[in-house]
Each structure stands twice: as C-alpha cells, then as structure tokens.
Amino acid sequence: MRRGDYLVMAIVLALALAFGLGAFLSIGEDAEKTLVIRVNGEEQQRLLLLPGAPMEQIVVESQGFHLTIELQDGQARVAQADCPDGVCVHAGWISRPGAVAVCVPARVSIAVEGGGPAPDVVLQ
C-alpha cells in the first residue's frame, strides 16, 4: 500500500459522504408524490397522487394498444391494457416513490416520483 492508495480511499469515502449529504438534504423537498406517465420514454403527463383523492382515469394509447390508468387515494395502477402479456396490469397498485409499472409492448411506463423519505426495500 502506497501513499496514493490512501488518498484514493479517502476520496472515495469523501464522495460517499457527499452523496449521503445530498440525499439527506433533498429529503422533504418533494413532499408530494406525483405519477409520471411516459410514452416512448417521453413524459406525457404528471399527476399528483394525493391520499384520499377520488378515482381518476387516464386512457393512454400507444403502439396500437390501449391502457387505462387509474389514480386513487395516493396510489396508481394500470387497470386495463390490451397488450399481449399484461405484466403492467399484473403489477397492481403502486404508491411508493420509485415504484414503476411498465408496459413494454406499448412502450408506456407509469412511475411514482417525489414523496420524500420512504422505505427502500421491504423484505417479506
């Protein structure tokens, strides 16, 4: 181990601290969760996911497929889709920041963003 090695390690640890600080400081900035609907990777709509909100339905058409997206009470799901695999519908309700439901054939994705601190992994 030479002197430079310690420097490298120190730099990496300093970076770790920097990222930690960044994560810590950005908590609470987005207190509200939003559902972002993307078609072909491009953002189409942003809707607020508010707890206690009444049912809202959005219909998205892409690549010849029709998807019905529902938002209700702080969560969202792909309620109906006529794509061949139905993985998107099978994903069910999503509400956690970072959660996504994707329809690959239709190239549509819905993602929950913002919302401040939330558990990252839930082990079952």
């Binding site: 030479r2 090695d5 640890l13 770790a16 990222f19 960044g22 970072g98 993602a111």
Partner: protein, 176 residues
C-alpha cells in the same frame, strides 16, 4: 506495446475472459443486498485488472464485453447487462488511467475501479428509473467498494505473483 505472437495473445484473452465469466457467476451466488436486482459487487474486476496489466486496455475491453454478454445471456437479463457493462467498462477506464501513476499500487487502482463500477451501476439505475433519489445508495455503496476494491487487488496480486513469469514466457514480452 503489442509484442508477443497474435495467437498466444488471443489464447490468453480467452483464458482471462473465461475466468472473468466464472467470477461473474460466483458473485451472483453471494447474497449481498444491492439496491436493484442485477447489480453486482464487481469481483470480476479481478480478471479485468489482470487483463489490464498482462495485455492492455484494448483486449481488456473486449474481455469485459465478452463476459458481460455471456453472463447476461446465460443467467441474467437486459438490466443486468446494462449494469455490468456500464460498471465493467467504467472500472476498466479508471483502472487503465490510474495504473501508471507512481504513487498508486494495485490497491489504489482497484479501489478506484470498484468505486467507478458502483457509480456507473447507480447511474444506470437512476437513468432507467428516472428517480434521482437512487444516487443516495452510493452513500453506503462507495464505502463497500473500498472494501471490495481492496479485496480484488489482494486476489489480483496473489495471482500476478504466481502467473507473471508464465505469462511473460507465453507472450514473449517483458510484462510490467
């Protein structure tokens, strides 16, 4: 410096690529909690490090590509391919850049490579999920990479100590 007969270089490439592939499989067996499925610890960098010192960055890049493709095709998926390719390539670039610096030994080079590996993986995750929040994972992944980088260098040095002479003879060149 590309001395040494072509066929022997290719043979050595193949050997190292096979080892890298095996390491890649081995690390998928270790139950380490990574933020997303498909992310890896970076043990295959042992082989990348070896390739960089024994052959050079160009062949090393080809080997990273080979082992990522094989590994993802056989027991991974497109997400794993994205993670391992990004991680492997950035690690290679960083290690190649750093290895000639006089103040550094293989330990520093390897830790830098491991850090780059994890940064690249998290970057891919942040890009695919479009959640900037995922960058926070680096707060604990980077210290982990100090440990894994150090371990990778240890194994590499152990191997290099024993294999340097046969490799030189095989390639007919004074490797460094």
């Amino acid at each position: 410096m590309r001395r040494g007969s072509g066929v022997r270089r290719v043979a050595l490439c193949g050997l190292i690529a096979a080892v890298a592939f095996a390491l890649s499989f081995l690390e998928s067996l270790i139950p380490f909690p990574m933020p997303l499925p498909g992310m890896k610890l970076g043990l295959a960098n042992i082989a990348t490090l070896f390739a960089v010192y024994a052959l050079g960055a160009g062949e090393a890049a080809l080997m990273v590509l080979t082992r990522c493709l094989l590994s993802a095709l056989l027991f991974g998926g497109p997400t794993q391919l994205a993670f391992s390719l990004a991680g492997g390539m950035l690690a290679l670039a960083v290690m190649e850049l750093l290895r000639r610096l006089p103040g550094l030994s293989a330990y520093g080079v390897s830790v830098a490579g491991a850090a780059a590996h994890n940064i690249a993986q998290v970057a891919v995750a942040a890009f695919t999920l479009s959640t900037p929040a995922i960058w926070g994972y680096l707060a604990w992944l980077l210290p982990v990479s100090v440990v894994t980088g150090w371990a990778v260098a240890l194994v590499y040095l152990f191997a290099w100590q024993r294999l340097r002479a046969p490799v030189r003879r095989m390639l007919g060149t004074p490797a460094d």
